[in-house]
Amino acid sequence: MLKTFRIGGIHPNEHKLTAHCPVTPVAIPKQVSIMLNQHIGAPANCIVKKGDTVKVGTLIAEASGFVSANIHSPVSGTVSKVDKTANAFGLYATTIVIDTEGDEWEETIDRSPELKEEITLSPQEIIQKIAQAGIVGLGGATFPTHVKLTPPKEFKPTVLIVNATECEPYLTDDHALMLESPDQILVGCRILMKAIGVEQTYIGIENNKPDAIALLEQHAARYLGITIVPLRTRYPQGGEKQLIDAILHKQVANGALPVSTGAIVQNVGTAFAVYEAIQKNKPLVDRVVTVTGDHIAKPGNYRVRLGMSMRELIDIAGGLPQDCAKVILGGPMMGKAVSNLDSPIGKGCSGILILDEEHAHRGAINPCIRCGKCVEACPMGLEPFLLAKLSENHLYDRAEKELITSCLECGCCAYSCPSNRPILDFIRIGKNAVNRIIRSRKQS
């Protein structure tokens, strides 16, 4: 019996169309746009101006606080403007636009393909370097990694958990990365272990990726303290709290940090980026993006320079199909529909999913029939139908008591609702409102 988390969860059709597509590098775009708010936390401060020349890896925006991240140029060329442009959801934010000229990298970056295993830096130096390289959680949450590696003093991490579950349907970027660079990922894990001072790492991989499990198990034998944990395929196993429950059988108390269980969770893509930053001096300038959909001509896993426009990448993958009705940034469960395809690919973009007319639309909304399917599916043990109703009616006190803030917005409730109710939509606004109330209460 394989391990999995204990409460709720669903198993949607996997649709991993690109599971066996190797990581393909795509041509360097002629122009890139870099948004300053592509991570959680304070937007970075732009330190270049129009006309400046930059190389690949040049720092172009500096973290503006502790919870913020540096941004580096993904191409070499000239800054053509610093202005507001619309992101994928049509919201305007400050963007640095760079016109590409050639492909000249900063001299300090080691571009040789050799694996470098020896870790020479001290834990503090590692964390500092990760912060300098602008690494954020690459699973999609984009939380700055150096912040996660410096937990509050009262918590002592005892174990590192690496999230390689890729529980979202359709997405395969982590899968492809594991098949391409298993050793780099494992060295990345060793670096993270040294940074937080733990002796044990568990890499959780769902059993729909048997080739990745076998390959990593074979390579992990050479590294001390790294165990591969095959998990039963279930959504949302990649949620931090769900993964801790699945692997360690420990539950994170309400409102507590996941590190209170002694575990620090990092994404497998992040581990790879950490390897490149520490061993090769390479900041976060590219990432693997899955472009997928039932009718797209060339679905695949592409290694993309950050800042490339989504439309350009979709064109490389065969262009928008005739019957395209919706484009989703991320996976189908937690991803959001895109309203502006000319926006750039950011650090958190794990996939672009193109849905046809048949699958793109929501069903007609019917009244709640109190079947309890959402309660059964909720991985946090909440009552989604109630939370949605409470926030729809602005009853925020009660919603707070019903623990609306522990919702992880996985969408299991809306997925399992036979009446197609927009449960998550309302929970999300209620959660934001309650968080706002809690913050203002703390301030006063």
Binding site: K84, A86, F89, G90, L91, Y92, K336, A337, S339, N340, H361, R362, I365, E392, P422, D425, F426, R428, I429, N432
Partner: protein, 281 residues
């Protein structure tokens, strides 16, 4: 039979005494004027006065030293004139106000760039993305303001998909102002005619104009033409201070994008929403 009567009478007597003693001991002295004022108030409990219902407003009136900052928007000056003699104070006549929608982004002015099919709530749309047009500041058209109005004073126009405030019903309680996630609705003085900037876009002119043909681009022409200095430009957006506006309309003709609106209530024909055809976009 007799025993039961006696026992019941004793229980009744003891309970009555107990209740009497308790009611004396825990008696709360309440100003009788609160009840009196409450009976005058309309009893809509809309919260438009800024307090939690009519009784709370009555309590605040009794506590207050002057009625200057207290106004029941539903009852208006007439009710305040009745309240004033009870408290032995003077009620200052306050200018009546009305909710004004500061967005004119109908389909022909602001092209639709996406189609939304989630929950019908502006708050939900605002949390997700820019809305069906690319304007980050404009009306989202899902009708949170209409749903919030206790008096049915706001209806969503099916053609423009913008809220329409009925001047005969609106009492400026402010529920819609709070409900709008984009802060488009504002309470302004009822002037004849009413002049205001029907735009809320704070982006630079070039971006604002790209998303909507009648957006305020913050050019400042109106501010220069105003004889009374009522117009200020902040964050690329013109704002007309209604306490200084003379309704002269000098700003209207000069506005290059026609973002400044004039509403002439008395001349306006009464549009019935039902007669209009269904939405065109």
């Amino acid at each position: 039979m007799v025993t039961s009567i006696i026992i019941l009478s004793i229980i009744g007597l003891v309970s009555a005494t107990l209740l009497y003693v308790i009611s004396r001991k825990f008696h709360v002295e309440e100003d009788s004027r609160i009840d009196e004022i409450e009976s005058i108030l309309p009893g809509a409990n809309c919260g438009g006065c800024g307090f939690a219902g009519c009784r709370n407003f009555a309590e605040q009136c009794v506590k207050a030293t002057s009625l200057d900052n207290l106004l029941c928007p539903v009852g208006g000056n007439a009710v305040m004139q009745k309240i004033a003699p009870i408290l032995g104070m003077q009620a200052v006549e306050q200018a009546p106000r009305i909710a004004v929608v500061r967005c004119n982004g109908s389909c022909e002015n602001r092209p639709q760039t996406s189609h939304y099919e989630g929950a019908h709530s502006c708050a939900v749309v605002a949390a997700l993305y820019s809305g069906e047009s690319n304007c980050n500041y404009g009306c989202l058209g899902e009708g949170d303001c209409a749903a919030a109005c206790d008096f049915g004073g706001i209806t969503m126009d099916p053609i423009t998909r913008l809220p329409y405030v009925d001047p005969n019903i609106c009492i400026a309680c402010g529920s819609c102002v709070k409900a709008c996630p984009r802060n488009i609705i504002e309470l302004r003085k009822r002037q004849e005619p009413r002049v205001f900037v029907a735009c809320n876009n704070r982006d630079k002119g070039i971006i604002a104009r790209k998303v909507c043909s009648i957006a305020c681009i913050g050019c400042g022409k109106c501010a220069k033409s105003c004889p009374n200095g009522a117009i200020t430009i902040t964050d690329n957006l013109a704002y007309i201070d209604d306490s200084l506006c003379l309704s002269c309309q000098a700003c209207v003709a000069g506005c290059p994008t026609h973002a400044i609106h004039v509403v002439n209530e008395s001349a306006k024909e009464n549009i019935s929403i039902n007669e209009k055809e269904s939405a065109i976009c």
